[in-house]
């Protein structure tokens, strides 16, 4: 019984560690700031959720009562990760940081910076 629980906890830990590592690799490998935003907001959030889940299982079994306060951190990070990404994207737009040459929608950068509606795309509505 103990062996199985240890195996489950170890699996979650490894999954979480791998995801956090991938998030950081993305931070270095991806070519421009806007794409770099994607890796930490997603991979790292899931990574930490996995590690906290492992901690929940471990302490629940160890103390005999359900230990759920780790979920508070998960919840907090789930709420704050998009806000952080959004704020960084906002400042990047404000500072006119260029997207990668081959990315689509370069014409949207200027209206986005001024928080205006896109001009030539009106027919979509």
């Amino acid at each position: 019984m103990d062996y199985i629980i240890e195996a489950i906890v170890a699996c979650f830990l490894l999954l979480g560690g791998v995801f956090m590592f991938i998030g950081s690799v993305g931070l270095v490998r991806l070519p421009d700031l806007y794409t770099r935003l994607h890796a930490p907001t997603k991979a790292t959030t899931l990574g930490i959720a996995c590690i906290l889940l492992a901690s929940t299982i471990m302490f629940s079994i160890k103390n005999g009562t359900l230990s759920v306060h780790e979920w508070l951190i998960t919840l907090f990070l789930l709420i704050t990760a998009p806000v952080t990404a959004n704020m960084i994207a906002k400042t990047a737009l404000h500072h006119e940081i260029k997207m990668l040459k081959r990315s689509k929608g370069h014409d949207l950068m200027e209206p986005a910076r001024h928080r205006a509606a896109p001009c030539q795309k009106k027919e979509q509505e």
Binding site: F19, I22, G23, V25, G26, R29, L30, P31, D32, Y34, T35, L37, H38, A39, T41, K42, A43, T45, L46, S67, V68, H69, W71, L72, L78, I79, A81, P82, V83, A85, N86, A89, K90, A92, L93, M99, L100, R102, S103, K104, G105, H106, L108, M109, P111, A112, R113, R115, A116, A117, P118, K121, Q124, E125
Partner: protein, 168 residues
């Protein structure tokens, strides 16, 4: 403190009260009777004290649908991560990132916030900026094949249920 019409005196902010209660119990990691009483006391008094600061209260019209939406988002976060992980580890020159403008149908601020947060957490998209008139959301995507398909998918997968849940 003035109470507006149509608001319960006892629980002016039901969602906030529930959240405060749950967070108190989570923080103390217990279900002891004393903490339940204290948590309930805090959950009732704090909203009463701060209710005059927050003008409009959001309301959930369809709790069942809200729960289904939550599960959908959780599932999408999980799949999003495998997708992003695959893209991070594959060669970079195959990537075609880009910016798209999504027309917004939701009008309430809470709805827009939830929509923007959801698309930031789910497959390959990060919301970057919103236009001043709250009509357009600028979204950066990690890998675009077809802009219109991406916009349509976001709109019908996340915005439509959110609109129904919040009833606006």
């Amino acid at each position: 403190m003035t109470q507006r019409k149509g608001k319960s005196r006892f629980l002016p902010m039901p969602i906030h009260s529930l959240l405060l209660f749950v967070v108190w119990l989570l923080l103390n990691n217990t279900l002891a009777f004393g903490h339940i009483v204290l948590g309930a006391f805090l959950a009732i008094t704090i909203p009463m004290l701060v209710t005059s600061l927050a003008p409009e209260q959001p309301s959930i019209k369809k709790p069942g649908l809200a729960f289904r939406y939550f599960m959908l988002v959780m599932w999408d976060i999980l799949t999003a991560n495998f997708e992003v992980a695959r893209k991070v580890l594959s060669p970079m020159n195959k990537l075609s990132p880009g910016m798209v403008a999504v027309p917004l149908d939701i009008k309430s601020e809470l709805g827009i916030t939830l929509f923007a947060s959801t698309i930031s957490l789910t497959p390959g998209t990060v919301s970057a900026e919103i236009s001043e008139d709250k009509q357009w959301l600028y979204v950066h995507a990690l890998d675009i094949d077809d802009e219109q398909a991406l916009i349509d998918e976001m709109k019908q997968r996340y915005e439509a249920p959110l609109k129904e849940i919040l009833g606006c």
